[in-house]
Assembly symmetry: C2
């Protein structure tokens, strides 16, 4: 508990985003800022994209006769008055120290910890708005699943946020469903946090980072066709009057009795898990739809996890740890959950049962929402094909070829069959 020692300042925390997942994380965080007053300011800011809402029936405060249920009011106002995000997390009481704030610059003012929890497509716009508004020594954690993949390589969302804002940004990912966590149903998550160690007199990283592995901020992106792409960040050190933001203290901010946190230094591994699992879930859905049973499904998961490891090592080198995929919530557990009942799994399974294309199932079942597995499979294939590596990832390649109509799900075993040793 050395890191709990007395410091002049305490960390102020802002959640950037207030949807279902953002509101859930704000509940978790606000419980912990109360539990660790030596480390954190009690009040947690939650930036709310303002909209006019009425209280729905699913809210604890629904009352057909009440004015709030008839006349739309600003969402931030309702959250602060009722301590419930009636639109995105109805039925759940938020701690009273969560303060909804519709002004982004005001919400992040003086915050040393920024937790990003908003849809992928808003990242760029929000980062632009934040520019110059945040503390130069703020630290971020991205709770946004997904990666950006194209022919040129893989970009992590946490990296993207960190680069745009000039701060260090870690990542959280795991087998998590927001509404279950909000209800206090137990699950686990993985947080990757690994800022470079810095000499506080100079605003540049020096030496080796926590955990002994190269820092995500100075990560060596291995380009299989050429030289390592070394990126070095110029970070402003956290002033010494704040408690250090080491693994122990970051864990204190997120860990709850119903939300168990493992800390790691492998930002790339944690981020890849949340994206690549969707490709595996498609294969698991097809296999299940074919009636091949649980053993075939678990074989698909096993092989998928090993392709994730290989993908990580290929594109991020040894900064990626095998164990992130095989032993952490963001790896094996998230794959298992996604292959038991996730959206990609269910749509792939239905596509077999109803003899439809998966695009048709998506259109009929998802009410305008999009499957992530199908687009990730296409993007990953673009990258692999461009480097002549399709055969090194037979499951990812099989999924892409099934989506393209080149092969059938029934061929999965032969497509991924290991050749004679």
């Amino acid at each position: 508990m050395a890191s709990l020692g007395v410091h002049v300042k305490r960390h102020k925390v802002t959640i950037v985003g207030s949807g279902n997942w953002g509101s859930t994380i704000s509940k978790v965080i606000a419980e912990n800022t109360r539990a660790y007053p030596q480390l954190f300011e009690e009040e947690v800011q939650m930036w709310v994209f303002e909209e006019q809402v009425t209280i729905p029936k699913t809210s604890r405060h629904f009352d057909a006769g009440s004015e709030l249920c008839i006349t739309p009011q600003p969402l931030s106002l309702i959250i602060n008055r009722l301590h419930e995000n009636v639109k995105y997390l109805p039925g759940i009481t938020l701690p009273s120290n969560v303060v909804a704030n519709p002004s982004l610059p005001d919400a992040v003012k003086d915050s040393t910890i920024l937790i990003f929890n908003l849809p992928h497509q808003f990242i760029n716009r929000i980062c632009e708005s934040l520019h110059g508004k945040i503390l130069p020594y703020a630290r971020g954690i991205s709770c946004i699943k997904g990666i950006e993949v194209d022919e040129s390589g893989v970009t992590l969302l946490s990296e993207q946020i960190g680069r745009k804002l000039g701060i260090y940004c870690g990542a959280l990912s795991g087998a998590n469903i927001a509404s279950e966590i909000a209800q206090g149903k137990w699950c686990e998550t993985t947080i990757a946090y690994d800022p470079p160690l810095m000499d506080s007199r100079h605003p540049t990283p020096i030496g080796t980072p926590h955990g002994g592995s190269p820092s995500a901020s100075t990560i060596n992106l291995v380009d299989p066709s050429g030289e390592p792409r070394k990126r070095s960040a110029r970070l402003t050190p956290l002033p010494a009057d704040y408690p250090p933001l080491n693994h122990e203290n970051v864990r204190h901010l997120f860990h709850r009795p119903y939300f168990h946190v493992q800390m790691t230094s492998d930002v790339a591994g944690v981020s890849l898990g949340g994206a690549l699992k969707n490709i595996i879930a498609l294969a698991a859905g097809w296999v299940d739809g074919l009636g091949w049973g649980d053993n075939a499904k678990s074989a698909v998961m096993r092989i998928g996890i090993l392709e994730m490891v290989k993908f990580g090592k290929t594109f991020f080198g040894d900064t990626v740890h095998t164990s992130t995929f095989t032993e952490e919530s963001c790896g094996v557990a998230d794959v298992v959950t996604s292959c038991m009942g996730g959206r990609n799994f269910r749509c792939a399974k239905m596509s077999i049962e109803r003899c439809m294309s998966i695009d048709e199932v998506e259109r009929l079942e998802l009410n305008g929402q999009k499957l992530q597995g199908t687009s990730t499979a296409v993007e990953v294939n673009l990258l692999l094909r461009g480097r002549g590596m399709e055969n090194d990832f037979p499951l990812f390649t099989a999924v892409h070829n099934i989506l393209q109509g080149n092969v059938k799900p029934e061929q999965i075993p032969e497509l991924i069959e290991p050749k004679d040793s």
Copy 2:
């Protein structure tokens, strides 16, 4: 394909056992002895515990008017006439090169490969009957799941067979359901096979074994309270006129397009997986019965797999590989399958849903059969408690304490919560 070179002799294979799993494996093996005539004699012997049976309705040969469906006949005779094990694997055609043999000494005569596939409780008796009847240089593979655990330590069934017969015996385990494999539904399995390298002039193992790790036959059993328990086997080398029994050739005997085989050297890891997964499946069943959702279930699996790794390393030292549990079919995939719908999982889930003890559920649902998870949990706890190691295995210990009525399934998260780092 160096190992496919011409040798004077070919391996003769016997399956010791002809139940559901034994008959399924005989089908797999007999297809491969036909596919690799340079390595194996085509005919596969299958020892049958003789009994008088009539053809049931589930058989492909059922005909209400037929004599065979009215008057009992010896099972071996029916198998050899109809190429179907009408009692234990009805509806599946066995290759005609599977020869059922009710005489154990005759079935194993001149066989260089013995595949053990019979209920746990018959091992001792069968090994006694085999004594002096087998080739001194025969090799075994045990397909029997389970381990023997008591206060003094862990004994692998493959070790037990090998020691009693004075031969080397490997192990097969995976996410496998016999009837699905028999129908050609795709799955995977893991085979651990690692006999010591031997100088063929001397019937004692020398040097390092295949794979570079200590051989299972000269395994260092680490006794946490004392000295390593070194066991050294005196094996008779396989004569040079047989094709070598290396990983490549053992894989040829088992691998099929619908039954993918990974080879490993880690006999202890492969054997432990098949037994310890049943403890994990109980916890997953309780959590599912409580309605905590897939994320809680996948968290239980993840933690269980890591306790398996620790158990293996504690009691077998570094001969056990982490990857056997985290990356192979006998580890992660078998855990996942068992936690999705296995018998231990289902009974534990029902015990919550019906507010019954698991023993009651077992009595009502299993028709006299026994849950393996409950007895394994008790045995493992006896071992751990005796060494003061209960706290090192919080999930295994929680399962035992729930079974004993000391704690409730609802307490699982707090019981396994990692302490502050």
